[in-house]
C-alpha cells in the first residue's frame, strides 16, 4: 500500500510576479529535485507565499517559467496539493468527508482511503465529527490528510503550522516528515521559523528582494536532534540571515553569509 511515488521535479527560471506596479518577485531561479524537501524562508512580504501560489497555479507569473517534469505550468497545477495557514475544512462536512474531498468524492473507495489517511494522522476517532469541534492542531492534521489522500507528487505548505503552539508544532513537523518519507513527494515549505526549516528541509532557500539570496543545504541525519549544537547553530545562522535581509538602512549587524557558505558549500 505504501508504494513510493516519485515526486515532481521543478525548474524555476527567471520567475517574475508583479501586482500592479509592485514587483513581488523580480527573478527567482530554483531547481528542485524529485522528492526533495525545500524550506523557503524570508521576511514577511518577501514574496515566499506568492512563489508557492505561482507553483500551485493559483497565480499566473508575469515573467519567467515554472517547468514541472519537462512541462511548463499554466493554470492550476494538477500534481500539487496545498496546505494553507488555516486548515480550510468545510464546516458542513464530517471530518472524513473533508478528507475524502481530496480524492474527489464520497464513494466507498474514497472513504476507505480517507479513513486510512485519518488513521495515519491519528484522527481516526474523529472521522464522524464536525470539524468545528477539532482543536487547531487537529484541524491541520485533517487538512494534511486531505492534502495527501490523493498521493500528490508535490506538496506545497504555506506556513501551515504558524498558528499552532510550540509543542503541537513540533508534533506536526514530525508527522509531516514521517509522511514525506513514506510517500516520497516533493515538498516546498514556506515558513518564518528557522528551526522548522532546519528540522525538515534538505535545503533552505532564503528569498530576499524578490530573488533567491541564499541556499543552505542541511545534511543533518534524520530524525534531527533539535538539541544538537549543529542544529542550533544552523538555525541561528539562518535566523541571522533572515534578519539581515531588511533594507540596508536598518541593518542591525554585519553579514554572516560568507561564513555559512564556506561551512556548507
Amino acid at each position: 500500500m505504501d508504494s513510493h511515488i516519485s515526486g515532481t521535479r521543478l525548474f524555476i527560471q527567471g520567475l517574475q510576479k508583479k501586482f500592479g506596479n509592485r514587483l513581488i518577485l523580480s527573478s527567482v531561479d530554483l531547481d528542485v529535485k524529485p522528492g526533495e524537501f525545500i524550506a523557503i524562508v524570508g521576511r514577511s512580504g518577501c514574496g515566499k507565499s506568492t512563489l508557492l501560489r505561482l507553483i500551485a497555479g493559483l497565480e499566473t507569473p508575469t515573467g519567467g517559467a515554472i517547468i514541472q517534469d519537462g512541462h511548463r505550468i499554466s493554470g492550476l497545477n494538477p500534481a500539487a496539493r496545498v496546505m494553507f495557514q488555516d486548515a480550510r475544512l468545510l464546516p458542513w462536512r464530517k471530518v472524513i468527508d473533508n478528507v475524502a474531498l481530496g480524492v474527489g468524492g464520497a464513494g466507498d473507495s474514497q472513504k476507505e482511503s480517507a479513513g486510512r489517511l485519518l488513521r495515519q494522522v491519528g484522527l481516526a476517532e474523529y472521522a464522524q465529527e464536525w470539524p468545528g469541534i477539532l482543536s487547531g492542531g487537529q484541524r491541520q492534521r485533517a487538512a494534511l490528510a486531505r492534502a495527501l489522500v490523493s498521493r500528490p507528487r508535490l506538496l506545497l505548505l504555506d506556513e501551515p503550522l504558524g498558528a499552532l503552539d510550540a509543542f503541537t508544532r513540533i508534533e506536526m513537523q514530525q508527522l509531516i516528515e514521517k509522511l514525506w518519507q513514506e510517500q516520497g513527494f516533493t515538498a516546498l515549505l514556506v515558513t518564518h521559523d528557522a528551526e522548522e526549516a532546519v528540522a525538515l528541509a534538505d535545503r533552505v532557500v532564503l528569498l530576499k528582494n524578490g530573488t533567491v539570496d541564499l541556499e543552505v543545504p542541511i545534511s543533518l541525519p534524520r530524525p534531527r536532534q533539535r538539541s544538537s549544537a549543529l542544529f542550533a547553530s544552523l538555525a541561528g545562522k539562518i535566523r541571522d540571515q533572515v534578519m539581515d535581509s531588511i533594507p540596508t538602512s536598518q541593518k542591525p549587524m554585519v553579514k554572516t553569509m560568507s561564513f555559512i557558505r564556506s561551512r556548507n558549500g
Binding site: L76, R81, V82, R88, W92, L101, G102, G104, W130, G132
Partner: protein, 256 residues
C-alpha cells in the same frame, strides 16, 4: 441520562407555553365576571365554540386552505425569483452591476403601497394577492441570498479550486452550503412578511380566506369569529416559523 435530558426538554418547551395559557385563563375569568364586556372581546369559550361550529360546516378549513395555498404559491413564486436573482447577482459581478441598483430602488417602496395599483391591475381576484405576497417575500430572500453568497469564505473557494472543484460541484459543495445560513434567515423573514401581506390583502379585497372570514364576521358583529380569525393567523404564523426552524436544524446540523 438520556431520559433525564428528554424530560428536561419537554419541561423546557412547556415553559414557553405558560404565559399564553395563563393569559387565556385570565381572559376567561374576567369575561365570566363581566369585567370584559362581550362587545369588546368574546369569551375564549365563545371563540372555541365558533371554531367548532365553523369546523363542522367545513367553512373554517376551506378558508384556511384558501389562505394557505395563496401564501405558499406567493412564497414559491416570489421567493423562487428572489433566490434565483440572488444567486445570479451573487455569482456574476456583471449581473450585479446591471440589476442591483434597480432592485435596491424597488426595495425602498413599501410593497403594501402597491395595493391600489394591484387592485386596478388585477381586480380583487387571486392575482392581486399573489402579486403582493410574491413581491413581499422577494426582497428578504433576494438580499439574504446575495449577501450569503458574497460572504462565503474566499479561502474555502480557493481550497476547492486547488482540489479541482469548479462550476456546479464548486457551487453545490462549497458556495451553496456556505450561503445557506443567510438564505434561511431570509426565508424566515419572508415567512413573516408572507402572512402579514396576506392578512392585509385578504382584509381589503377578497371573497374567501381567513381575512375574508374576519371582515364578513365584522359585518354581522360576530366578535367570536373575528377573534378566531386573528388566532388562526397567529397559529399559521407560528406553524410557518416552526417549519422554518426544522429546516434550519436539518440544513445547519454542523452548527450545533
Amino acid at each position: 441520562m438520556a431520559k433525564g435530558s428528554s424530560l428536561h426538554k419537554t419541561a423546557d418547551s412547556l415553559i414557553s407555553w405558560i404565559i399564553p395559557v395563563v393569559l387565556v385563563i385570565l381572559w376567561q375569568i374576567l369575561s365570566t365576571l363581566g369585567w370584559i364586556s362581550g362587545q369588546t372581546l368574546p369569551e375564549p369559550i365563545g371563540v372555541i365554540e365558533a371554531a367548532l361550529r365553523l369546523s363542522e360546516s367545513g367553512e373554517l378549513f376551506q378558508h384556511i386552505g384558501e389562505s394557505t395555498s395563496r401564501a405558499l404559491v406567493g412564497l414559491v413564486v416570489g421567493g423562487g425569483i428572489g433566490l434565483a436573482l440572488g444567486f445570479l447577482n451573487g455569482l456574476i459581478p456583471a449581473a450585479e452591476k446591471l440589476l442591483d441598483t434597480t432592485v435596491q430602488m424597488l426595495r425602498n417602496i413599501p410593497h403594501l403601497a402597491l395595493i391600489p395599483l394591484a387592485i386596478l391591475w388585477f381586480g380583487i381576484g387571486e392575482e392581486a394577492k399573489l402579486f403582493l405576497v410574491a413581491l413581499g417575500v422577494f426582497f428578504p430572500l433576494y438580499l439574504n441570498t446575495f449577501h450569503g453568497i458574497r460572504s462565503v469564505d474566499p479561502g474555502l473557494i480557493e481550497m476547492g479550486k486547488v482540489y479541482g472543484l469548479n462550476g456546479w460541484p464548486l457551487f453545490r459543495q462549497i458556495i451553496l452550503p456556505g450561503a445557506m445560513p443567510s438564505i434561511l434567515v431570509g426565508l424566515r423573514y419572508s415567512l413573516g412578511i408572507m402572512w402579514l401581506t396576506l392578512i392585509v390583502a385578504e382584509t381589503i379585497s377578497s371573497d374567501s380566506g381567513i381575512g375574508y372570514m374576519a371582515m364578513n364576521a365584522r359585518e354581522f358583529m360576530q366578535m367570536d369569529v373575528v377573534v378566531l380569525s386573528i388566532f388562526m393567523y397567529a397559529l399559521l404564523g407560528k406553524l410557518a416559523d416552526i417549519l422554518a426552524k426544522l429546516l434550519e436544524n436539518r440544513c445547519l446540523r454542523w452548527r450545533m
